[in-house]
Amino acid sequence: MLLNMGPSHPAMHGIIRLILELDGERIINSDVEIGYLHRAFEKSSELAGYLQVIPYTDRLNYVSPLINNMGYSMAVEKLFGIKPTERCEYIRVIMSELSRVCDHLTCIGASAMELGAFTAFLYMIKAREFIYQGIEMVTGARLTISYIRPGGVKGDLPSEFEPHMRKAIKDTRDVLKECGKLLTRNRIFVDRLKDIGVISAEDALAYGITGPFLRSTGVDYDVRKNCPYSVYDQFDFEIPIGTTGDNYDRYLCRMEEMEQSLRIVEQAFAKIPPGNVMVDTEGQEIPAAMMVDLAKMGETEGLIQLEVDLDPTLGGTTKRYHDGVEANEKEIVLPAKEDTYGNIEGLMQHFKLVMLGHGIIPPKGEVYQAVEGGNGELGFFVVSDGTGRPYRVRVRPPCFTIMAALPLMINGGFLADIIPTFGSVNMIGGELDR
């Protein structure tokens, strides 16, 4: 019998179509059809400037958007051959790891819910809420953050971020412990996940699978350890490796990876270098509009030294923090807000970077930059032709390769076993189809 597990199905995470050939309840043959969420990311990024592509990258893997931003920004920085400041690297690592925890929480929570464990899902979403509140404090949004940009980040961390995150990490650890007690040795959960969806290490490597999927089969490959980028080599963390390559090992890998990510965040908070205080003020702040008015009237003495009181959405972008988090590259990085509003050079620098027809202009060439996404190696292949628009941006999606191997894992199994296997794949439609 030919069964269509169609594009809209409550247990499919996103939109994907499985065509199954069944004999009773056993699957003889299957085929995967993707492309339902194709939004022409690669074509759109050829029309937009390098900075305008960043919101597009947010929407690729929408449960861990900071990692996509980071991959793209690192690719553009590699094209230029520049490096951001050290404080900025630590901030990027903190935000990426928090994003990774959100990704794994969503994956395990959703797949537990599909097996009937509603409580575990709600507890994990509650933990994810704490992290989202922290991310909102820093970037202003929960999902479409456009935070990590070539040359630096949008703005520095606010002062209330660290205490909030320390409490959130403690609460997340409690939630993970509780969900571990609910699921890890739960008879029903283990019976449904153990020895289901097995893939061997050779098959996984032949299919180019990376990430927790590959690590559950026993292969030790993590982009953060093998090809360290940013400041990952400064942290002490472990990579959980599985043995059998079944769903249960993937679940355990993800749970342990979350703990390791929280360890990295704590170490980063301890090691982060302090930001440069560029302007030495006595705590005087004036509203930005007043500064512009004073400047128009010609009363500019002392304005260069003052700290500007900005809208909360622009927090962390003032001169006091600017040098700490943005690379010292005039052609790539937006100037501090006091300079944009206060003097003509800053205004010109800002204009040259954001107006239509101008923008950042990398040298001609092509680069490939890989980062460790929630599902595996997320790679950005950027080709530049020397103009302000990328010539080609190619995203190497980690779950594309896993979905290609899905028939290997479900053929010969029962129909009901597709649900836990598919849940452990963590297919994100935005990343698969771009």
């Binding site: 993707i34 492309g35 292969v219 680069v367 490939y368 790679g379 292949f381 290609a404």
Partner: protein
């Protein structure tokens, strides 16, 4: 070291090799691409066991012939090195050997290149569209496919 090994094994078929920002690149003739890939995978000194990515670039309007470039990214887990292999493909002869027999994931990657660029792969078991729907006309990522081009309406089959 990797680039020298490739050059001495394939001599004239390797058009150029260079390095840019730490990435090693080799441009080879498309006729021998299957041999090159097999060599890169099986040679014990190189040992590229993971095909990371397979895609294409369209150089229309850039004053460069041939028009397309098929780009392969390889990674060796044991030796921890990466390589990019590019093969120029001319517009009049849009066929490249498929490497599905060497890495099964090339099946889906090559389907995507066919879908987006129209480059055929010889010996591919199932070359049909993967991201676009079947009655789609044209190949979207080509430079002469306009971003806001309309497609003929596809109605229900009655």
């Amino acid at each position: 070291m990797i680039l020298e090994k490739v050059k001495e094994n394939f001599l004239d078929d390797v058009y150029e090799t260079y390095e840019f920002r730490g990435d090693l690149v080799a441009v080879v003739n498309k006729e021998i691409i299957r041999g090159v890939m097999k060599f890169l995978k099986t040679d014990p000194g190189l040992d590229f066991n993971i095909l990371v990515d397979l895609s294409a670039v369209d150089y229309l309007g850039q004053d460069r012939h041939p028009r397309f470039d098929v780009v392969y990214h390889l990674y060796s887990l044991a030796k921890n090195h990466r390589l990019r292999v590019k093969t120029p493909v001319d517009e009049k002869d849009l066929e490249v050997d498929s490497i599905t027999s060497i890495w099964p994931i090339a099946n889906w990657f090559e389907r995507e290149v066919w879908d987006m660029f129209g480059i055929k792969f010889k010996g591919h078991p199932n070359l049909k569209r993967i991201l676009m729907y079947e009655p789609f006309k044209g190949h979207p990522l080509r430079k002469d496919y306009l971003y806001n081009k309309r497609q003929p309406l596809v109605g229900p089959k009655n």
